[in-house]
Symmetry: C2
Subunit: 418 residues, 2 copies
């Protein structure tokens, strides 16, 4: 196919779509989300049929049961996608919110007002529900969106998009407010990533190599949703039962996500007691421990951690364990091996807690709580499009506000500059 022509075709209507969305009142955007949600619930036959084809191909191609399951949609999953869209509709519209307001000595009234970013390109590998979630969040924040999901879910994504397009039409907004890249060609993605005049932001979500390729290729600003190498540090004076609960939760509750703990650091003063308390529990929960030398003296069943284990994102029931001489060593370990995502200290020592909170340079730093809370919902944002591991524009969970930028609105009565 002529990929360049296809990219042009995708981009041609985006400026007008972004303009329409930028100026769309909240009620109209919410109506789109509601109609889209209803469509998923009551008009899902074509979608489920398309999904069945994707699932059959994936199974035939030998994808793992877990991946096939992630891909599979059913009535219940459609209902949950619809519910997520309704939750987004219920959130406050960030657009037009006044962030700051000031009257200058010369009488100029300056308001800093939230406005949409423009056109957002989402590139992801995840389950088809991300197609609905991401589109809903981008639209509510007033942004047009181009969605490029995984190839294995292409038919499902196109069928989800058909329902959204119908909802846009019904509300009088251009269909091109949300588009799905309909062909798997890599050149289309490259073409889009070079189109900095048409697209204002790229959000990649998925595996390491996807994100690196996007970051290297893009001429457009990228907010990466990269890996989480999260640490829990158990300090020398801490409630070891609480520490145990937090470590188990951070590792075991959902090991495949970016805010799960990958490395446990323990102050040497409490290493023996704490590992005595928690190692067996973790092992019975199916966690493989990979320890430093001291850890392995205390827990003979632990495997040996190599240099490679520090900084690894297992996304699995594996935990690297290191005994450290003090808080400084823990902070230094995190600075060297962490990914600046989410890191926690468990301690009763307030001074140690404050030092950890200020010196560990991560998107979220915790004292006496599980790293698993780094999440838009848990942070009170209502929803999230992902968790930024970048430092600019948005850091940590990205909700509706993070999908906007701002402008300065200045009202005068004839002021000129002296």
């Amino acid at each position: 196919m002529d990929t360049e022509a296809y990219v042009r075709e995708l981009l041609a209507p985006t400026a007008e779509a972004a303009r329409a969305l930028r100026l769309a009142p909240t009620t109209r955007k919410n109506a789109v989300l509601e109609t889209f949600a209803s469509g998923l619930e009551t008009d899902g036959t074509a979608l489920l049929a398309a999904n069945a084809l994707d699932v059959a191909d994936a199974a035939a191609a030998g994808l793992s049961d877990a991946l096939v399951d992630r891909l599979t949609l059913d009535e219940e999953r459609l209902a949950s996608m619809a519910a997520a869209l309704r939750r987004v509709a219920a959130l406050d519209d960030p657009v037009s919110a006044v962030i700051q307001e000031t009257v200058r000595p010369n009488g100029l009234k300056i308001s800093k007002v939230r406005v949409p970013i423009g056109v957002i390109l989402m590139i992801y590998e995840s389950r088809p529900n991300v197609t609905a979630d991401a589109a809903g969040l981008c639209l509510k924040a007033g942004n047009a969106v181009i969605l490029r999901g995984g190839t294995e879910s292409l038919r499902s994504n196109l069928a989800i998009h058909a329902l959204l397009a119908a909802a846009l039409r019904e509300s009088g907004l251009p269909e091109s407010c949300a588009q799905v890249v309909a062909h798997p060609d890599r050149e289309i993605v490259d073409g889009l990533l070079g189109s900095h005049e048409h697209i204002q932001l790229v959000i990649p979500r998925g595996g390491e190599s996807l994100i690196q390729t996007v970051a290297e290729t893009s001429r457009i600003p990228v907010i990466k949703h990269y890996k989480g190498v999260c640490h829990v540090y158990v300090d020398g004076t801490s409630d070891l039962n609480m520490a145990g609960d937090i470590v188990v939760n951070a590792k075991v509750q959902r090991p495949g996500v970016c805010n799960a703990a990958e490395t446990l650091l323990i102050h040497e003063k409490v290493a023996e007691r704490f590992l005595g308390l928690v190692a067996g529990f973790l092992q019975r929960a199916g966690v493989e421990l990979r320890g430093c030398e001291r850890t392995r003296q205390i827990v003979p069943g632990a495997a040996e951690a190599t240099e490679d284990d520090w900084g690894r994102e297992y996304l699995d029931l594996i935990l690297a364990v290191r005994v450290v001489p003090d808080l400084d060593a823990a902070i230094a370990h995190i600075a060297r091996y962490g990914s600046s995502h989410s890191d926690a200290i468990v301690t009763d020592d307030e001074a140690a807690a404050e030092r950890f909170l200020s010196e560990v340079d991560s998107a979220a730093v915790y004292v006496n709580a599980s790293t698993r809370f780094t999440d838009g919902g848990e942070f009170g944002m209502g929803a999230e499009i992902g968790i930024s591991t970048d430092r600019l524009h948005a850091r940590g969970p990205m909700g509706l506000e993070e999908l906007t930028t701002y402008k300065y609105v200045v009202r005068g009565c004839g002021q000129i500059r002296q």
Copy 2:
């Protein structure tokens, strides 16, 4: 020279320097700025001698008088650089400021706290005073900075840096908190722009080609300080005397800056009266008018505006003038030819004003005031490192807050995720 080795040498100490600055108390950062300012005032002999060499070379190379003047330092200009540093010292420290605070139903206390960005690379072509200004702002916001100024001011920049390095040493902060690229080789810049693991943000300031090259080469997020094609639109029902004052101010007061007006749009209903009022005045002030056909009927002395004139950043005493049928046409013209920097409407019609403010998608939109106010000082930020023409992270004037990012500090008492 071995440019790769030089880049490595520049980057090696930056992480430690950034860490030291990130944790530095306000008093220490202010002490650096104060010592640096005093150095410029009382210890400027070597700097003035270095500057004299730069100036002699520039004159010998045939640079224009205006450029040589921009390059030239004297006691008075050093005093004004010192005063600017003291103004930055007097500003509130943005680091550690709490942006938002919330207590979740589960008792977690979540604070969104400002933190420095890290290491910033400034690439600029401007006068040597930018070296002191930019370094002062980056340091106050807790960032390490690598400064790459214009080649013609290299000796001046190195001498300015020597005074700053002495101030850093005296305050016990690493000298490498601020570094000047000491060699003009283009490969060094390219090497730095590829170092996304060491540098967190690039700010280019200068001509169009500099900015485009940086944006195309960089693997690091860039906040561009690009061109300002600013418009003043005089609506059909406006106070024409006020409109005249605003247009003259926006064009004439300082034509060489990015927030000066480049195009005047006039509602056809008032075109004849308004041009009758203002055209002669502008022409006597030395402004060359380049008009559409209707403009030239009214002002026979006006040159013909070609398609190329719409969207041109003259940075000079030239004004493109177009008569438009209505507000919609003015908004459409700005959307097509503007650079989303600063645009103004002059009107007595509130509905027209509000439509202009919401529909024109620029960093700063004005009603009844001159575009010349788009400036960190005029906006109440105290100082600015420049004016962002990008949409992400910072838009419009960038002050100290825009040189920071944030982290989430989460305090719990044993919370785990269900």
